[in-house]
Symmetry: C2
Subunit: 412 residues, 2 copies
């Protein structure tokens, strides 16, 4: 037995710490980020409350808040006295109307664009349904630029746009915001981020990510899984997208490609998938599988799904059977994900949050018989409350990250 | 659309930063850890080299090394001049013989105990094969205590034992080092860490983890995946254990339960698994499946596998066909893991590193037809070089973590 190859620990953070020493210059920037993040995610707060939230000293908090006020990111207002002795602590709030990001969601069945203020409030949004046809990327980019223009018209004249975040139902290379493959939309290898940046002409960073990854981010920051460390987000459309957060960290894998849970080969003798493989999970639990099982034309898309859900609501046996069959396969796949990831919460988004009520028994029974007891006991399966907006809200959070990581990017 | 629930960002680190502000006291401790980690993983270094490795200033490095020398963790020796102008920089080295951890590996087919010095060198080790019978935990604990005593006899008289790390082929709750379930060993809910701590009587922390998780740690720190950020480790024995590292961070899930890849339900109409479910991946790729396919008695365990590999080496058709069939299923599961995790390297350990040469074609063909192109192109499948020692080496690294995280635990 030998110790094997030596490696510089900085090359992998497997051992759990930062690769290099901390210089004191970095501490202030990190503490500014901590304050801004707290105001963005947990809302307005007095200096005293920020001391409690961050563990920093009162004088440090005061100096950091003053810095953020100087950068126009934060407003500070003296609170009225609450009757307790001493001066009331001023209240710091994110300047939401003046600090904005543009969020974009490109799904198979719809596209949406929103303006989201610092603090997470949606200032304006617009959504349009798409037909299930192959649409050239150029036409889509033009549509998105037009929608963004509409959304921007309603902003305050002094609003600063800090970034653009895009969620897309496909595999995205995060480093250069390139769409590598969107099997259910029909796009291959498109420089989506660059094209959109050019069309928008905003001179800010455009960040593109997979819709499932962004849905997981949104649910863990602002949705039903808020505050939960181990989360799986599953979004059913034609395909099944997913995003995974493990101990608070989004799982991205190499260049952001991870999370293609819809392509787990769960039925090795099953149907051909749009990706070219056989028996992928999404061939059993996606919108197409549901419509096919109910004897409907899969190409009807969302309209067909709407109809089927209406039929199920009125007790139609064929619709309920189709939903139950999808549910059994949903449960089998969820059992596998439970065994691999040991999540605490599985959030069902997209079409799944609407169909789940009709398949709860089948899902739970399949999970009970296939997930390891110790892992199954710790997990809850819950429909999203953000619904089809998960990816859009996640896109906004993606756009905020560079300012939240380093508020000194915004000049004072 | 609403912003959903507000959450304190500290509750989830999904957004990627530490939950609270950094106080300057923590900086020194963190920098000490950075230096010690560098010496442990990347080996001895001059002060100048440590400046390069860590990004800290020369005076900071000098003070930090002096501190570590005072704690008995590091030796510093003046190097002979290399002929370049100025005083030669002293060389800092981990004091390996004086600073030791005990590593323990409890597998289905064998147990092993080793003493590993700071820096990762194995000072002593012992291994015994186990029969494939249900063995009470108490008897196992007594065996391990005895093996540890043997190993400690060969240590220097002034050696300090800093911790004990245990890898075990089962589901482990990390917080209290409890073995929750080891289906292939036959143990349920045993306080393994506490029992072993009592039997060893060493008055140091005993940390227990899943063997697959530790194998992944070992491979990413000191094995074929050293320096790689996205790694999956698969270890075949009776079951298939796994460990996953994503962007340098081990995926643990809730209380450390993640990584049970052997229980992905890849053949929903397949065989009953030892976990009680049907069609788990390990029912198709484990040692039992291999022996069964070759017409051998699965209860023969490692001896049967050894025989089968010998037969394959001499061209026996039945043996080669059994290996090929296991290989096809191995490839199907690997394809799923590639789609979900987007790894760069998949390391095959345990029995798999011995059988892989006979199933490369089947594995590659199954992966090619079932993994998404963009993800498949970025991944290499490689046999472990650490072999059956991966879990043991990982157990040593687990035992080192508390000292590496905070060297001030060791009194000066």
């Amino acid at each position: 037995m030998s110790g094997g190859r030596w490696s510089e620990p900085g090359a992998t953070a497997a051992a759990g710490t930062r690769p290099t020493g901390i210089r004191s210059e970095a501490v202030r920037q990190s503490n500014l980020a901590t304050i801004l993040r707290s105001l963005h995610y947990a809302g307005s707060a007095s200096r005293s409350e920020l001391v409690v939230r961050t563990g920093l000293t009162r004088s440090a908090v005061g100096a950091l808040v003053t810095d953020l006020v100087g950068r126009g990111l934060v407003d500070e207002q003296r609170a009225s006295s609450d009757g307790s002795p001493g001066r009331p602590s001023p209240i710091a709030s994110p300047r939401s109307a003046q600090n904005v990001v543009i969020a974009v969601s490109v799904m198979v069945d719809f596209v949406a664009v929103a303006a989201v203020g610092l603090g997470g409030g949606v200032l304006a949004s617009v959504r349009v349904e798409r037909r299930r046809v192959e649409q050239p990327v150029d036409a889509m980019i033009a549509t998105l630029a037009d929608l963004a223009k509409q959304v921007r018209r309603s902003l305050e004249p002094d609003a600063v746009i800090h970034g653009v975040g895009v969620g897309i139902a496909g595999i995205v290379r995060r480093a250069d915001n390139r769409l590598v493959f969107a099997p259910n939309i029909g796009w291959h290898d498109e420089p989506f981020g660059d094209l959109l940046a050019e069309a928008l002409g905003l001179d800010v960073e455009v960040s593109v990510a997979n819709d499932g990854d962004l849905g997981a981010l949104a649910e863990s920051l602002r949705g039903v899984a808020a505050g939960v460390a181990n989360v799986i987000y599953l979004s059913g459309e034609v395909g099944v997208g997913g995003g995974i957060i493990s101990e608070g960290v989004p799982i991205t894998g190499r260049v952001g490609f991870a999370g293609e849970v819809g392509h787990l080969p769960l039925n090795p003798d099953g149907r051909r998938c749009s990706c070219g493989a056989v028996g992928c999970w999404e061939t059993e639990v996606g919108e197409d599988a549901l419509l096919r099982r109910a004897g409907k034309d899969p190409s009807r898309g969302l309209a067909g799904a709407d109809e089927l859900i209406d039929e199920a609501a009125s007790g139609d046996a064929a619709a309920l059977e189709a939903l139950a069959a999808n549910g059994r396969w949903l449960g089998i796949g969820i059992a596998g994900l439970v065994n691999v990831f040991a999540p605490q919460v599985i959030v069902l988004g997209g079409l799944l949050h609407r169909t789940y009520p009709y398949m709860i028994d089948e899902v739970e029974s399949a999970v009970a018989s296939r997930a390891l007891d110790a892992l199954r006991k710790g997990v809850r399966i819950v429909p999203s409350e953000l619904g089809i907006d998960s990816s859009l809200i996640g896109a906004a959070e993606l756009a905020w990250q560079s300012v939240l990581d380093d508020p000194t990017r915004v000049a004072g």
